[in-house]
Symmetry: C2
Subunit: 225 residues, 2 copies
């Protein structure tokens, strides 16, 4: 019998609900979790990192990589990394919002690929959501599939990596339900774009999360303003 | 008539011969150059950065991005970033050498893509060489083509980026000849993997460079030990 303990998954984990659930799914499938978190001078850097550590403790991860990326601050061009650009709070609109960070998941996945190649992990897990989402282009199914191909072409021939994106086609309410089924500690997750003690409830990310809980018919355990 | 001054190319420039020539090619085609350099705790970080600045002065670049990446030191796994792994000096061998840095060009191109999207540049230039090379998987034509597709799928719909890799199918001797034609300041470029005042002449990178000059029938202007 194959020793499933040797299966390793590199899980990109922000501390939010979606990436946490994605990591829990890999854990439930018998993978050892290598957790990767990015500090990129995002507004919620401190809060996200705290959540990441607490979630990793619950999840019993094998290894943690905490990567400091000055790059996005240097680049700016997003409300999440440039404090002179306000986070929108009046509801989702069509088009790519100002919270979009240029090719963020491309950079995250490239680093995750380097880690996976070094660690001999066959899977990268990412919590992208295409439907009930902010409309970020780097969260689309077609992009992630293409990136998987690029990663396999650009690494050693013996390196074979699958990018797992179990939530990409789910609605937020399905994500909430699935998280409850797997006993994901939703109370430890943080989705809000603002850097405050309580979630704001009105940024795009809060709106999507709250609507997911509402449609799932359950209460969100985190405090809101 | 189209104003060619508005064409911008993001040029990934290490300070080496290949990426310098690639940038000079874009300049000769009328592009404004946005030069991108990575400090990633490689053995030759200081030397490469000096060369990069000198080359940028000659090339009259529009803008410079110097990006500090702690990541590769944290990752290790390469003779270029882990000083406990020796740089091979006994000649090129088959297979991927220990100087390979996992998915380095994937990470570099992803960041270059974010810069290109922000700056409205339609081209990224990279000096990869497939034939006369160390055999790094992230320098292959097929990989770069795939990465171009991934970048266009993972950025805004109005962002359209071509990755230019003018040297990918050239021999090193052709690179030397082309560099001489375009008056590339080869005396300012650094290719050696070792961190010394003079190039070692025996690492894979020096061997490839020296053989290129030899076959082109010209002297390499940089000092060797």
């Amino acid at each position: 019998m194959k020793n499933i303990k040797s299966k390793k998954a590199v899980c990109v984990m922000s501390g939010g609900m979606d990436s946490t659930l994605s990591a829990y799914i890999k854990k439930s499938e018998g993978y050892e979790i290598i957790a990767v978190h990015f500090n990129y001078d995002q507004r919620t850097q401190k809060k996200e990192l705290e959540c990441f550590h607490k979630i990793c403790n619950k999840l019993d991860v094998k290894e943690k990589y905490i990567l400091d990326l000055d790059f996005f601050k240097q680049l700016g061009a997003s409300a999440l990394t440039d404090k002179s650009i306000q986070v929108p709070t009046s509801g989702l609109e069509d088009g790519v919002p100002v919270t979009y960070v240029p090719f963020r998941n491309g950079i995250f996945l490239s680093m995750a690929a380097a880690i996976a190649e070094k660690e001999g992990a066959g899977v990268i897990s990412i919590g992208v959501v295409e439907e009930d989402s902010s409309g970020y282009p780097d969260c689309r199914f077609d992009y992630i599939k293409s990136m998987q191909e690029s990663i396999n072409l650009g690494t050693k021939d013996e390196t074979n990596i699958t990018i797992d994106m179990p939530l990409v086609k789910l609605k937020k309410s399905q994500i909430v339900q699935k998280a409850l089924e797997l006993n994901v500690p939703l109370e430890l997750t943080w989705s809000c774009y603002q850097d405050e003690d309580k979630a704001c409830g009105v940024c795009d990310s809060c709106r999507l999360r709250l609507r997911g809980f509402e449609l799932a018919g359950v209460n969100d355990p985190i405090p809101y303003k």
